[in-house]
């Protein structure tokens, strides 16, 4: 019993780290420019397909797939910013929602048209199988995703708090006009923010692809968790997303095991709503 319980908690932590990795891009874009990117899940989906194409064409694992997905998605992030976001940000909130939602559908059904609707999968041992530590099983692919989640979170946090670039980005987020008067170009800063956010999302996708199925609608399945993670962690807070991701992962695993998988979402979401009741800004969000 206790033995299995340890495995449940370990599994929950690894799952939570993936949720955190998945959500970091979403929270960054929100923090930088108050835009909710409904296409976020589909960015992750694109990252997964990059990993898949890299594997089928080059036989390469995440060592090639992950950097390439980061690069390609970062480029897409810049294109999306200049092509769509910059303009709809001037419109009402509804325009942002529908704009990014339309983008989500465009991406989803382009992939659907190109790759078909079949479920795809990468080989299970692409990232070196599974460790067995005193009977506790840890999948190397999930561990890698977990470690990368920690590193990405730390790197993003340091970038925002310790570098000039980070200060400039935060300045634009705070007050774009004032920043402009100080000689900072809001456009470039926000484009960089989109590149970083989309790049992190592509990285997440390429790593998640090593242990999850790949299908054009996968962004839908994983997307809801990302929004919950980000609002629990506090919109805009990168460390908040990490803590929230881990928390949700463990609570989900424990309640799924102890109470039953059908009820785990009820447990997670009632705790979530209950928490927001007391602290609407989330764990680490600004008031």
């Amino acid at each position: 019993m206790t033995f299995t319980l340890v495995q449940v908690i370990v599994g929950g932590l690894l799952l939570g780290a993936v949720y955190a990795l998945f959500s970091s891009g979403l929270t960054l874009v929100w923090g930088m420019m108050n835009v909710v990117n409904f296409a976020h899940g589909d960015f992750v989906m694109l990252g997964m397909y990059v990993a898949f194409v890299v594997y089928t064409l080059l036989g390469g694992g995440p060592l090639i797939g992950a950097p390439l997905a980061t690069l390609l998605l970062a480029t897409l992030g810049v294109i999306v910013y200049f092509g769509l976001i910059r303009d709809i940000m001037k419109g009402p909130m509804l325009a942002q929602i529908l704009g990014t939602f339309g983008l989500a559908l465009l991406l989803r059904y382009s992939v659907f048209w190109w790759f078909g609707a079949n479920f795809l999968s990468l080989p299970e041992n692409l990232v070196g199988g599974t460790f067995d530590i005193f009977g506790i099983r840890i999948q190397a692919s999930r561990l890698l995703a977990g470690v990368v989640a920690l590193v990405v979170t730390l790197a993003l946090h340091l970038l925002l708090t310790r570098t000039t670039l980070g200060s400039r980005m935060l300045a634009v987020a705070e007050d774009a006009t004032a920043a402009q008067l100080m000689g900072i170009r809001p456009d470039s800063m926000q484009a960089i923010a989109w590149a970083i956010a989309a790049g992190a999302t592509g990285l997440a996708g390429a790593l998640i692809a090593t242990f999850f199925y790949i299908v054009p609608t996968v962004g839908e399945t994983l997307g809801i968790v990302a929004f919950v993670t980000v609002s629990l962690g506090g919109f805009g807070s990168v460390p908040g997303a990490l803590v929230a991701g881990l928390l949700i992962g463990v609570i989900e695993s424990l309640s799924g095991y102890l109470i039953g998988a059908v009820y785990k979402d009820i447990v997670v979401y009632s705790l979530f709503l209950g928490f927001l009741w007391f602290r609407p800004q989330g764990l680490m969000g600004k008031t």
Partner: protein
């Protein structure tokens, strides 16, 4: 036009393409509505069924003498209606019962279809067929197995597929034979999602086993389209059942296979209930780590040159995938419906309904391994039956039970990877 506007336009186009189905209309054809998941997580099913229906329409609308006695194959079009061609108007149910219902309404009132088929997920067949019943339009279903669909006293609903109660019997007899051969089958766990399909099949199996004196020791339910199934697999691993019966759609089935391998869990026997485990993309994605999984099926390719082998090849050429049980049952339903329309010699719904009630197809007139097609008062095909198949090499299912139709002997225990 600026670049941003181009992107905006594309986004708008994508949204409208996703929200609005195609509404092509032609006269002097027999229009049948097909409601299937074309988007959402079961979209692969919709893609498969479209290819299968293209093949079926080719067989119905063009002469295919090589298919021998197979109904509607010999001449082009429906002879009973002066060679009228059949056309399918598709609608996307988006994996949602509410959408399925709206689409049924649209197909009947706006597209003026004479009959409906679909809708894959039992929960959506439930709502879509209720609309058909209200508008007195025949609804022929080929693949939804939730028992209650034919327990509603409907007059316009006909179901060709065997259902959960039929398979409870098949599973019971199969497990009995396996027990006689030395396998342990006393401790049974049922793993299922919480949809209409998963819940009702699990319930039917539990009840049927109970009547035979077998208690289902463990019932593991989960919400469909799961992001993670580790806790469910650990529950099974801890309780060590002899037999795990898995009732899952494709996405969850793939996740279970991957998670079982990651957590090193192999039940002695894994018995799947069709759907996800029959999807060719399940086999391609995780077949190699699911070796030895048992499954139910009513489809078998048959000897070379037989109508089933010819149809299977036409489908493979069209879609690139092998024919699976689910898509074959959907195709069979379309043939049953068109045969009835042909016999009715009319597109009047009431006449089609009467013809469906009088349907009496023999085994050599159908593509499935049923004993025939004949509906009872509830609209259920009483001659539907099935067999047990096994994914022995991780690439192709072979029939293993009952002995009379077995290509190979069953291999125990579950090998996995």
């Amino acid at each position: 036009m600026r670049f941003s506007h181009v992107i905006g336009l594309f986004s708008a186009a994508a949204m409208s393409a996703a929200l609005v189905g195609n509404a092509a209309a032609q006269s002097k054809t027999v229009k049948i509505g097909g409601i299937f998941p074309m988007s959402g997580n079961a979209a692969s099913i919709g893609v498969h069924v479209k290819h299968a229906f293209d093949v079926a329409l080719d067989i119905i609308n063009n002469p295919h003498p090589e298919l021998g006695n197979f109904p509607l194959a010999k001449n082009g079009g429906l002879a009973g209606l002066g060679g009228a061609k059949v056309e399918i108007v598709y609608a996307d149910n988006q994996g949602s019962p509410a959408t399925g219902q709206n689409q049924a309404l649209r197909l009947i009132t706006e597209e003026k279809v004479v009959a409906l088929t679909g809708a894959y997920q039992s929960g959506i067949t439930l709502t879509a067929s209720a609309i058909a019943e209200k508008y007195n339009i025949p609804f022929v279903n080929g693949e939804s197995v939730a028992p209650n669909l034919t327990e509603r006293g409907f007059k316009w609903f006909f179901r060709v597929t065997p259902i959960a109660t039929d398979f409870a019997r098949v599973y019971y007899e199969f497990l009995n034979d396996m027990k006689a051969a030395g396998a342990k089958t006393d401790n049974i766990a049922i793993l299922h999602d919480n949809t209409e399909y998963g819940a009702s099949v699990a319930n039917t199996l539990t009840t049927a086993f109970k009547e035979k004196g077998i208690a289902v020791a463990l019932d593991v339910a989960y919400a469909t389209n799961a992001t993670d199934v580790q806790s469910q697999v650990l529950q099974l691993k801890e309780k060590k059942p002899d037999v795990v019966i898995a009732i899952s759609y494709t996405s969850d089935a793939i996740l279970f296979a991957k998670t079982m391998q990651a957590l090193d869990y192999k039940p002695p026997m894994l018995l799947a209930d069709d759907s996800g485990y029959s999807d060719p993309s399940f086999i391609k994605a995780v077949g190699k780590i699911s070796q030895g999984v048992f499954n139910r099926s009513s489809w078998s390719v048959g000897p070379a040159g037989s109508p089933t082998a010819i149809i299977a090849k036409m489908y493979k050429d069209k879609s690139g995938d092998d024919m699976d049980d689910t898509v074959a049952r959907q195709m069979q339903a379309l043939f049953v419906l068109c045969e009835a329309i042909d016999r009715a010699g009319s597109t009047e719904p009431a006449k089609i309904q009467a013809a469906l009630k009088a349907t009496d197809l023999k085994p050599d007139q159908i593509m499935m391994g049923y004993k025939g097609v004949k509906f009872d008062d509830k609209g259920q095909n009483i001659l539907a039956s099935g067999l047990i198949i096994q994914l022995q090499d991780g690439e192709n299912y072979v029939s293993v039970w009952p002995k009379a139709s077995a290509e190979k002997t069953p291999i125990m225990p579950y090998k996995g990877w």
